[in-house]
């Protein structure tokens, strides 16, 4: 089965440090209070490494990359 990568966020854990938006501005921006707004849809192949770096940098472990079955 084909899969794709998707960013998920635990909103309770997230404290709005904003590192994710610094490291992956192509997909993540912050709102007026510093909390991430993640663009919908899967992470394209060429951004996969940047996405992984953003996940690794999250100080509260709120951000995660999930591999899910590709939606048609």
């Amino acid at each position: 089965m084909k899969t794709e990568m998707q960013l998920t966020i635990d909103r309770i854990k997230c404290d709005g440090h904003g590192l994710c938006a610094e490291l992956l501005p192509e997909r993540i921006r912050v709102d007026d209070w510093g909390y991430p707004i993640i663009a919908p849809g899967p992470i394209p192949e060429h951004l996969a490494q940047h996405a992984q770096r953003a996940v690794a940098a999250c100080p509260t472990l709120a951000l995660a990359l999930a591999r899910i079955a590709r939606s048609k």
Partner: protein, 401 residues
Amino acid sequence: MSGLRVLAGPELTSGAESFADHTQRLGTPQSTGRALVETLVRSGLTGRGGASFPVGLKWRSVIAAKGSPVVIANGAEGEPQSHKDRLLMTTRPHLVLDGAFIAARTVHARQVVLYIGEEHKAGWSAMARALDERPEGERRIARIVGAPHRYVAGDSSAAVHLIDGGVATPTTTPPSTHERGLDGAPTLVQNVETLAHIALIARYGDAWYGSAGRRGAAGTVLITMAGGVNHPGVLEVEAGTTVEEAVAMAGGVTEPTSAVLIGGYFGAWVQAAKAWELPLDIASLQARGLSLGCGVVGLLPAARCGVCDTSRIMGYLATESSAQCGPCFFGLRALSDACSRIAERGANRDDLARLKKWAIEVPGRGACKHPDGAVMFLRSALSTFADEFAVHPAHWRQQPA
């Protein structure tokens, strides 16, 4: 006044129906097990706590999940305008208990928790007395736990969190409570009104359930009429009854009405002219982008200001955020502040633009649906009271609460 089905029986003013009277009037429910689950699926019954989740499907997934399930009867009723759950617990506690114990037998639950709003004193004591009247086998597995007087306490994950860990704040989903709830066990959280309907469907079946209802809708619903009606309070109406018919049942309007709040604080304002013909039925409302929610129908008299009332309710909802998720805690506070600036100091384009921007950014970004519900409510206000928001005078202090 008595109702059609779950509120049928002795006068509601005479208080809780005893177990003896209840059993004599209705007999003992027979149907449990797989057959009942399929009956519930066919009946189309949906949850009455606000989220309108199909009951039969929830039971199926609890049965399919691994582990020994728990049943939670949710009588938190944190919605300030809603009174149906406390009325039901106060007057027909055994119907609620029947539903809870039928659920327990059907999903093979080892415990039943009656989760009751701490402020609903009459409902609590009626339920406690009713539980004492039940057979030993039922009493042994059941206990009552108090729900704190907070808006989010009725969320199913908050209920599980309170019973498990003593804090009534929602937790991150997935997993949903019916997959992993109390002590990690699959947990069936069902609103007390839903349980009362289940108690009757287990006796009379899905065809009987569907024999009530107007305009293609099935069953009955409890609604709370609030605001500018002559007899505010709880009504049991056939699903599909229009707002206009329900208002007539509540003694008509006290004065001309400008808008109607359908579904409570997570619901939506609708202009009165468009509201009268709306059928009070989950599917018909959903088809119009509305929701029945917990069944509150609130009439706004034309003399009251929709902007000020919206601002007041947004202030309440911002305060009721459990302050766990930034977009909800900061977002709702900012939305509420912008509303009250318009209400207090008068319309201004900057705040209106902020409201519109944040109303798009905030929803969908909390662990629970609190920000989504609050913003849905606000967006309905921005469209229903568009003219008022654009030209609102600084008149907060002239409007009594």
